[in-house]
């Protein structure tokens, strides 16, 4: 029993309280605060790592990861459109959610590795930032076509300057510019409290997930299957990419988790503005109601096993 991380219990507690219609709630500004701390901390960690190694050595890795960020949504779009029978806008929006990444899932994966003393490349946090964005652009193009009408400067503004990406990037630059010794003075807030803050975040995520479950019945079986099969397939692609990049087992497992995760902060906000005709309930039901709990409860251990099996086979 003790092998389950207490932060997962916080998620289950939130899920239970939500399902029981308890009045439990994280005050909305506290939720914003907690999210902000998570994003800044993850950014800072990535930035510190960047300060530790020459940027140029990471460039090839970064290019491959960005490329995958463009590819992943393209893989699921036809399935959503032809098997799921969703219209173009909805298919594009869901594809963008799954092509992008979930910062909360990443944080849980990091906590999972830390608890088990599994090493991983700290610049994974950089990949989180890199993977946030391409899927959004692909989603917009899939929905609208490459028409000249699309106001790309507005889109770029929305995507890059939205809260999620901005906090990640801000943390990244601050960590990079300050280096490991520089951030020491702020580490009690950003690093020591990290898992406690993550616990509160997951409590609220549990409550939100519970509130999404109602919509599930309405949208039916396809969404459930899609929300489980997609992460499974994407994690395999992620594992392969991790191996190609020569990552450690931990790093490979985290990359697989990133590929398997679906966005629920940056992408919904961007889609709401750029592809407003897409129904936001559809994509959030899938990403929050199914994929997020699947990943943090079952996915991460599975992807860890996948990464170590794959490395064993190769070794």
């Amino acid at each position: 029993m003790n092998s389950i991380d207490p932060i997962i219990w916080f998620f289950l507690f939130g899920l239970f309280a939500g399902a029981m219609k308890s009045e439990l709630r994280l005050p909305s500004q506290i939720y914003d605060f907690v999210s902000m701390l998570l994003l800044l901390t993850i950014g800072l960690k990535g930035g510190i790592e960047l300060a530790n190694q020459p940027f140029a050595t990471l460039l090839p890795q970064m290019a491959l990861v960005v490329g995958m960020g463009f590819l992943l949504p393209l893989l699921v779009f036809p399935i959503l459109k032809h098997v799921g029978k969703f219209n173009k806008a909805d298919s594009a929006s869901i594809a963008a959610h799954y092509g992008s990444v979930s910062v909360g899932t990443f944080a849980v994966a990091v906590a999972y590795m830390n608890t088990r003393n599994i090493e991983f490349e700290e610049h994974m946090a950089l990949f989180v930032v890199l993977l946030e964005i391409p899927a959004i652009l692909v989603g917009i193009v899939l929905a609208k076509g490459l028409s000249k009408d699309t106001q790309w400067s507005t889109v770029g503004h929305e995507v890059l300057l939205g809260k999620g990406v901005m906090f990640l990037l801000g943390g990244l630059f601050i960590g990079w510019l300050s280096g490991p010794s520089g951030v020491e003075s702020i580490s009690p807030l950003f690093f020591d409290l990290f898992k406690g803050i993550l616990a509160l975040f997951l409590l609220e995520m549990g409550l939100i997930t519970a509130s999404q479950l109602g919509s599930l019945k309405r949208y039916g079986l396809f969404l459930v299957i899609f929300g489980i099969v997609t992460p499974l397939i994407f994690s395999v692609i992620g594992t392969a990419t991790g191996l190609a990049l020569g990552l450690s087992i931990g790093g490979t497992a985290i990359l697989a988790t990133l590929f398997a995760s679906a966005s629920y902060i940056a992408v919904p906000a961007a889609m709401r503005i750029s592809v407003p005709e897409a129904n936001p309930t559809l994509s959030l039901t899938a990403s929050l109601g199914i994929t997020f709990p699947f990943n943090i409860l079952l996915g991460i251990p599975l992807y860890h096993w996948l990464a170590s099996s794959a490395q064993n086979i190769l070794a």
Binding site: Y31, I208, P276, E277
Partner: protein, 102 residues
């Protein structure tokens, strides 16, 4: 007292639209607006305000009857199809009419 009859437009919609609506109001000639945070339910389902994607705002604009109609029609055309939005207008009296466009 020298009261002056004018109109109040109230818009309840998704928080994500805040900056775009402000732009619209200003471009059509509104001289001011007031915003409060809200939550609610309507034809597009429950918007409980627990996180940003499902929070509402409530915008009020005081202005003359012509601008009120223009604004309401503009919002209807631009947002009603794809966004949770309710608009209504009512009669109010103000003391300093010069503060509000017409």
């Amino acid at each position: 007292m020298n009261n002056h009859k004018t109109k109040l437009l109230t818009v309840i919609t998704e928080a994500a639209l805040e900056s775009r609506l402000i732009n619209d109001i200003e471009q059509l000639g509104g001289l001011g607006y007031t915003i409060t945070n809200a939550r609610g339910k309507g034809s597009r389902g429950l918007r409980s305000g627990s996180w940003e994607a499902n929070a509402n705002i409530r915008i009020e604009v005081i202005c003359g009857p012509e601008l009120v109609n223009q604004l309401a029609e503009h919002l209807q055309r631009k947002y009603y199809d794809n966004y949770a939005m309710v608009t209504f207008t009512s009669d109010v009296e103000v003391l300093r009419p010069t503060k509000f466009s017409d």
